[in-house]
């Protein structure tokens, strides 16, 4: 089975990316509509997270696929850097969507949620981590930043589940998605540090990522539907 995965890994990566980009597209469209109606900042930041995830996977796995040929495809180093940047931004936005109420006023709406003072800090942090990773030729800065982000997200989502689990049925799955995200980032870190990018573990991470995105898709489509 693993041999088959490895033999077909490029096409499988492409399918994997198309699924994730499609899921992100659906989530962004749906949440954008909810945001436009409600102007709710939490929905806005949640939407931005999936916008960045979608862009990241699109650049890394679709624009960076060897099937495009060497003249069309983006260089692996550049697509990898852009991918890491978008993934970090997405993680920051996802965490921020859970804590924004403690930082911003509910009634204040920024003209742009992608370019404003607070979000510039995220951009700055992501760029610094990418540059540090480039200088040291390591992925550890990215992995550790996301382990840190999702550790917080796990705690917050668990707290939300305990406090409001009876009101919001999806809070349990949200917590599971955050926990799986943390596990995926921890596995990424371990596979780079100790297991020399072992293909079996990487395949497992891809599967975990798919489960996470499908969980969010389920939540967005099911929970946010108009009855």
């Amino acid at each position: 089975m693993l041999d088959w995965f490895i033999a077909n890994k490029e096409i499988l990566k492409l399918i994997y990316a198309f699924i994730i980009v499609f899921i992100c597209f659906i989530i962004v469209i749906r949440t954008h509509r909810l945001f436009k109606l409600s102007l709710h900042q939490g929905i806005r930041y949640f939407r931005n997270a999936f916008l960045f995830y979608g862009l990241g996977f699109f650049v890394r796995y679709i624009l960076g696929t060897p099937y495009l040929g060497k003249w069309l495809r983006i260089d692996a180093l550049i697509s990898g850097g852009i991918f890491a940047f978008f993934l970090m931004m997405a993680g920051f936005f996802l965490l921020y969507s859970l804590i924004w109420r403690k930082i911003e006023s509910e009634n204040k709406t920024h003209l742009s949620s992608l370019i404003n003072g607070k979000i510039l800090i995220f951009y700055l942090m992501a760029i610094v981590l990418i540059v540090l990773g480039g200088l040291w030729e390591t992925h550890y800065f990215i992995f550790l930043s996301q382990i840190f982000v999702f550790s917080f997200a796990v705690i917050i989502s668990f707290n939300n589940y305990i406090q409001n689990g009876t009101k919001g049925k999806f809070l349990k799955y949200y917590f599971v998605a955050m926990l799986l995200s943390l596990i995926a980032w921890a596995l990424n870190f371990l596979v780079a540090l100790y297991f020399n990018w072992d293909q079996a573990i990487l395949s497992g991470i891809y599967i975990i990522n798919l489960i996470i995105f499908f969980l969010f898709l389920f939540g967005v489509v099911r929970v946010a539907r108009v009855k």
Partner: protein, 90 residues
């Protein structure tokens, strides 16, 4: 003492009053919204800015509020928005 209403809930309540009355005077809306005058002013300004309600001037001075298409859409989707915010801990 009752639980403090969430912002979205207050908006829904105000819009519901406007919808039920089709056209409503500010004083009646203030009374029905159960808000302090300052909070009411802030919310109404926000609703006008977001184009959820529109203002008509009668005899050049008296205001009447009515619901816009966007306000009607909001009320239709309010439950979905509320569910979404609750279920995703936003």
């Amino acid at each position: 003492m009752g639980k403090k209403r969430e912002r979205l809930e207050v908006i829904k309540d105000i819009l519901n009053v406007v919808r039920q009355n089709r056209k409503v005077k500010p004083t009646r809306l203030l009374y029905a919204s159960n808000l302090s005058p300052q909070m009411f002013k802030d919310y109404v300004e926000e609703l006008i800015r977001k184009k959820f309600v529109q203002v008509e001037l009668i005899d050049g001075k008296n205001k009447l509020f009515s619901l816009t298409k966007k306000g009607q859409d909001f009320l239709m989707e309010y439950k979905a928005i509320e569910n979404f915010v609750e279920n995703f801990g936003l």
